[in-house]
């Protein structure tokens, strides 16, 4: 009676920037009887391992860790700071949508002059409000809260609902 011997060899290797790649090769062979199974298995293992090792050396595309996902996503669209929104170019803010909304809400709630906020950003960072990145916007929000008497001197990132925590 013929015996079918099936074997798969798979190898997964880590790559830089939290990537990984894997290669898998399978084979089925017919052997005359089970008495040769061990010998054939050993041969097949060596064969499959050599095949996988040969292929997996081809790393293929690797993203640049300093830019991939930061300035352009995989679809060629501009970044959205993780909030899934894109705005028209004449109203583009560099910070997140949550930060933008919070800054505007502080201005509206406290009837602040938008020029005052613009001046504050210029004074603190030498740029306009819309040019503030996430870090600068965070700092600006803290300043605005202090100015309006709502700052508490400790960090409370109120533009998001997540738990504030000291790193």
């Amino acid at each position: 009676m013929a015996v079918i011997l099936q074997m798969t060899y798979q190898k997964k290797l880590g790559l830089p920037n939290f990537s990984s790649h894997a290669c898998s090769v399978s084979v089925s062979v017919e052997i005359p009887d089970v008495s040769v199974a061990a010998q054939e298995s050993s041969k097949l293992y060596s064969l499959l391992q050599a095949a996988v090792d040969n292929e997996i050396q081809q790393v293929g595309y690797l993203p640049d860790a300093t830019s991939y996902g930061m300035h352009q996503n995989g679809n060629g669209h501009p970044p959205n700071n993780g909030n899934g929104q894109n705005r028209s170019s004449n109203d583009q803010w560099k910070c997140t949508e949550g930060q933008r909304g919070f800054i505007l809400r502080i201005v509206a709630d406290n009837q602040l002059d938008k020029n005052t906020v613009e001046d504050m950003a210029q004074q603190l960072f030498g740029i306009g409000v819309k040019e503030c990145d996430k870090m600068q916007a965070s700092q600006l929000i803290e300043e605005l809260l202090e100015k309006t008497g709502k700052g508490n001197g400790r960090r409370r990132p109120q533009w998001r609902s997540r738990e504030p925590a000291r790193a």
């Binding site: 880590g14 830089p16 920037n17 939290f18 860790a65 300093t66 996902g69 930061m70 300035h71 700071n81 993780g82 603190l124 990145d133 996430k134 870090m135 600068q136 965070s138 700092q139 803290e142 001197g153 960090r155 409370r156 990132p157 998001r160 997540r162 738990e163 504030p164 925590a165 000291r166 790193a167």
Partner: protein
């Protein structure tokens, strides 16, 4: 499932189920939470899941008060309105006196500790490598990083100071830090800061510094400069976050008995764990 034979520290009344709390803890991660989870999962459970509280230790209170003064000092430099030593001492007094919300367990003389903290600050102001007129880029800034493209929860945290593209973290300690080991023992923190900074600014940090204010008889300041986070460190950090998420999913809150338990404030509760 965690079972306590007795609960010596009463938890605050809970309005959310344990599953809800764990689900929220899974949405975001901070360096302090991750470090605690890696240090001891049962201690993590006591603090973050059960919400048990312990009185603040004198060392923590001293560190917090020193941090508040450094924050005020850095903010003043940033705004171009330098503070006098007297102004800074007033900030220190106010910070030290703020013990109502979080009482401190004073097993040492409070006045002595207060003097130690102020001497540390005086030493730092005298020996700091940062010029009094140098303008920082950010002071105690709260930032977050979306790591969803790596299948990980969002990273949140507060960066003490950014100066000339360098991330600076202040520490108070009773021992002089070992420069050879700082990079490893603080890797969770440094990777967290680096990722937060890169995500928030789109720039790569030029380095990370720990400014350690060491509580010796003659206080001293030790600055440990580290290289920017490497890809290998980032990968290790992501694996640690993966372990955090997997541990929460498994409700894995077993203790980690070891030498570190000698000074653990949860020692008695831990002994009752079964």
């Amino acid at each position: 499932m965690i079972a306590l034979a007795e609960a010596p520290t009463a938890p605050a009344p809970r309005t959310r189920s344990e599953n809800q709390i764990i689900s929220e803890l899974r949405e975001t991660v901070s360096a302090s939470r991750l470090s605690l989870f890696l240090q001891c999962r049962l201690k993590f459970w006591f603090r973050y899941v059960a919400g048990l509280k312990k009185p603040k230790t004198p060392a923590l209170h001293l560190g917090g008060s020193v941090h508040q003064v450094l924050r005020a000092w850095n903010m003043a430099r940033w705004k171009g309105t330098p503070m006098s030593l007297k102004d800074l001492y007033d900030v220190y007094q106010a910070a030290w006196g703020d013990q109502e919300e979080e009482p401190v367990s004073w097993d040492e003389d409070e006045d002595d500790q207060k003097k130690v903290g102020w001497r540390l600050l005086e030493t730092y102001f005298r020996e700091s490598s940062i010029a009094a007129y140098a303008r920082p880029e950010a002071v105690e800034v709260a930032v977050d990083a979306d790591l969803s493209r790596h299948g990980l929860p969002a990273l949140i945290g507060v960066i003490d100071l950014v100066h000339q593209n360098r991330i600076i973290d202040f520490k108070t300690s009773s021992q002089t830090p070992n420069p050879g080991k700082v990079a490893h023992t603080n890797e969770v923190q440094t990777c967290s800061y680096a990722l937060l900074y890169r995500e928030a600014t789109g720039k790569r940090e030029s380095g990370i510094e720990f400014h350690s204010l060491v509580k010796l008889k003659n206080p001293k300041v030790v600055i440990t400069a580290l290289e920017p986070m490497s890809e290998q460190q980032q990968t290790r950090f992501f694996h640690l976050i993966e372990a955090y998420v997997a541990g929460l999913d498994r409700r894995d809150f077993v203790p980690s008995p070891g030498l570190q338990c000698v000074a653990c404030e949860w020692f008695n509760e831990c002994r009752n764990w079964r």
